[in-house]
């Protein structure tokens, strides 16, 4: 009975849709974190499929670090508008001004500063669930993440107190003030995401594709040069054909040299890659536990 078979992508899709509907059914005020990055583009398509022909039953939320790639923000706004979805943007800049977030001297990346900004947004809108596009294959502290990841009143993740998840049953109960981070793409790999983007012909921000950009070599990476990040003395600015593999803070997201201008090129490149996707992100390299530490504090 070969017609009753699902491919691995269809299985992952069906699982993700189940999780999204569970969120819509069990929570009062859910939101979907949408940055415009490739994982959140997949999330948005899955949400569309989970609820059509109705509109999305939750608003989109983005924490803008002020260090986002401009291409990314344009794309984010355009997609939200096309879907008729409500988009809420909260900025790190604003959080800094209000004193919710404080910069540590010497800190270049705003990755850490996203945490208090996000927590404040969750509090402001009283979100009890936030859907995110994180995947377990990204990083080993994520390998133990649940689909429904419970956060206490301080937004903290306690790895030893996670709720067991069995079959397709998720416990979404929270008390007021607590919330749940929900990760429908938990079981997807980077390759699955790319294959799905290809299959669904999803549009992506242009920076995922090869383009010419001014970069400097720093810390073993090609970093983009721009107003926020001028070249340091002695650094040689080069104009290279590059693309990004993952999108984080513009200050710390390394570009890779690439000629990949189509989705097929990218898939070929990803299959041949010998470095993990987050390998280009300096924020993960601080210590072996840096992701775990950020997650404990409330990172998504």
């Amino acid at each position: 009975m070969s017609q009753y078979k699902l491919s691995h992508l269809q299985l992952l899709e069906t699982e993700a849709i189940h999780v999204m509907r569970e969120v819509a059914a069990e929570f009062e005020r859910p939101t979907l974190m949408f940055s415009g990055g490739k994982d959140s583009v997949v999330m948005l398509r899955l949400a569309e499929k989970a609820f059509r022909p109705a509109r999305l039953p939750f608003p989109l939320l983005n924490v803008d670090t002020g260090h986002n790639f401009p291409e990314l923000n344009d794309f984010r706004d355009r997609r939200a508008e096309a879907l008729g979805a409500k988009l809420i943007v909260r900025t790190v800049e604003d959080a800094l001004e209000k004193g919710i977030a404080t910069q540590v001297p010497g800190e270049i990346s705003r990755n850490r500063l996203q945490i208090p900004t996000l927590l404040a947004a969750i509090e402001e809108f009283e979100f009890d669930a936030a859907l995110g596009g994180a995947r377990r294959d990204e990083e080993k502290a994520r390998a133990k993440e649940r689909f429904f990841s419970f956060r206490d009143e301080f937004g903290q993740w306690e790895p030893k107190r996670q709720r067991p998840e069995l079959w397709n049953i998720y416990n979404g109960r929270v008390h007021p003030g607590q919330n749940m981070r929900v990760f429908p793409l938990s079981n997807w790999t980077e390759m699955d995401v790319w294959e799905y983007i290809k299959l669904e012909e999803l549009e992506l921000p242009s920076i995922y594709y090869a383009h010419d950009r001014d970069v400097v070599r720093r810390g073993g990476q090609w970093l983009p040069v721009n107003d926020l990040q001028p070249p340091k003395e002695g650094e040689e600015v080069q104009n290279l054909r590059v693309r990004v593999r993952t999108i984080g803070d513009i200050m710390t997201t390394g570009c890779i040299e690439s000629e990949a201008t189509t989705i097929d090129d990218i898939i070929a490149e990803v299959s041949a890659a010998r470095v993990t996707e987050r390998g280009g992100r300096a924020d993960d390299k601080v210590s072996e536990s840096s992701m775990e530490d950020r997650k404990r504090e409330g990172y998504f």
């Binding site: 491919s7 992952l12 069906t14 189940h18 109705a54 390998a143 397709n168």
Partner: protein, 434 residues
């Protein structure tokens, strides 16, 4: 959706602390080229810091700081790798006695259990426990890897001895398919490539077995069941009266035009349209997430079950189930908990502790006085609202449930429903009522 026909195999690894489980996973990832340079570098860095010791592949899976400090796996870790033939999800569960909870969790979604046995020690209690839990959780396939063959001189006799020992225990299990493979995870024998050290073994390597084991029939395609998860109501001019009953099909198939029953209310209708991820379809099947429109305007809400009219599920408030207690606070008889089954959450009271399985000897013990963390047993309970279900043995996704403590919201137990003791009256269905 037209896509590559890569299948997905989910397996769980179970092994004692020193059976080399993490080493085996590391080996699978490494030899199938699923480990990346930066991961390798970071492992190397940890090894260098530890004083120039050998790279520990276990550091790939044991991601939490306390795990690295204690050198143990605390929680279920999920790992992913792919070969051109299949994609794999490994639920790596710890083997310590106190972590039965995690083993049960990892097993709940697996197609296959990978049981590791140390060739020097043979079948120890822990291997039996892993096999027993896999069987209890209804995993259809099992592969028993006799590991550390290098430490017993790749001796065929030893392999046969252990296999015989394991077979003696098999009658206690309900597993369809068991395969034995002699391996050395550390040296790589029979993991990805054939072993030159064991010419007497003619079976598949572990990886080729993982790639080839037949899993297409693992899903239950009989007797349509779908718990209604969410009702899609666009409330727009275009879709004014639209109601899509959304959910994941937990068993069977459903076609447009099929007559279906709605339980526990006991109403019935016909399927008008089926929408799945790819669009509208004539037929859908387990485990697709779908949205179903019915011919009649019936009051159906989250928690109700759509079912075939041919073979009805049980609809009852009194239950008998296997239970794994997962919380530090033991079960309290007479206390009100919440049960989540399918899309239904309702209150539940445990009435009787029927028996408990000694996880060391696997003997069933009666006159049970308590159920505490990591206990496995059988209980009787009553729910406030009726549950609509099949026995877990018949259908994993229709017979499983979790127990939640309302005060803390912690998930405190997971269970597998058995057929109810009392014969069930066949519900009478009313036509198309509102």
């Amino acid at each position: 959706m037209t896509t590559t026909n890569t299948q997905l195999l989910r397996f769980t690894t179970a092994g004692s602390v020193d059976d080399g489980k993490s080493t085996l996973i590391g080996r699978l990832l490494h030899d199938s080229k699923s480990i990346f340079e930066d991961q390798w570098d970071s492992l190397q860095k940890s090894a260098d810091l530890a004083g120039g010791s050998e790279v520990n592949l276990a550091n790939l899976t044991d991601g939490l700081r306390s795990e690295r400090e204690q050198g143990i796996t605390i929680d279920v870790a999920y790992r992913y790798f792919a070969t051109p033939k299949r994609k794999f999800i490994i639920a790596d569960t710890p083997g310590h006695v106190q972590y039965t909870r995690n083993m049960v969790t990892g097993a709940s979604t697996a197609n296959m259990a990978l049981v590791l046995i140390d060739a020097r020690n043979g079948v120890v209690e822990q291997s039996k426990r892993h096999a027993y839990i896999s069987s209890l959780l209804g995993i259809p396939h099992m592969v028993v890897c006799i590991n550390k063959m290098d430490l017993v001189d790749y001796n065929e006799e030893r392999f046969r001895e252990i296999r015989e020992e394991f077979y003696e225990f098999v009658p206690h299990l309900e597993i369809r398919d068991i395969t034995f493979i002699p391996i050395s995870a550390l040296k790589g024998d029979n993991v990805v490539s054939d072993s030159e050290n064991m010419p007497w073994y003619h079976g598949p390597t572990l990886l080729s077995h993982l790639e080839d084991v037949y899993i297409a029939s693992d899903w239950n395609l009989k007797d349509f069941r779908m718990p209604v998860q969410y009702v899609i109501r666009p409330l727009t001019d275009e879709y004014h009266d639209y109601r899509g009953f959304a959910g994941q099909i937990t068993a069977g198939r459903v076609k447009v035009g099929d007559e279906i029953g709605i339980l526990p209310s006991g109403t019935r209708s016909k399927v008008k349209a089926i929408h799945e991820a790819g669009g509208s379809v004539e037929e859908a099947f387990c485990p697709q997430s779908v949205s179903i429109e019915l011919e009649h305007d019936i009051d159906i809400s989250r928690g109700d079950t759509l079912t075939t009219m041919e073979n009805l599920p049980y609809t009852t408030k009194d239950h008998d189930a296997h239970l794994c207690w997962m919380h530090e606070k033991p079960l309290v008889l007479g206390k009100k908990y919440l049960i989540k089954h399918g899309a239904r959450s309702t209150k539940v009271v445990f009435r009787e502790l029927h028996s408990k399985v000694d996880v060391q000897t696997l003997e069933e013990k009666f006159e049970v006085t308590e159920m505490k963390l990591n206990d496995l047993g059988r209980v009787k309970f009553r729910t406030m609202a009726p549950l609509v279900y099949d026995a877990y043995k018949k259908n994993r996704y229709v017979g499983g449930f979790v127990i939640i403590d309302e005060a803390t919201n912690d998930t405190v137990a997971a269970g597998m429903l058995r057929s109810p003791e009392k014969a069930q009256p066949v519900p009478e269905f009313t036509d198309y009522m509102i």
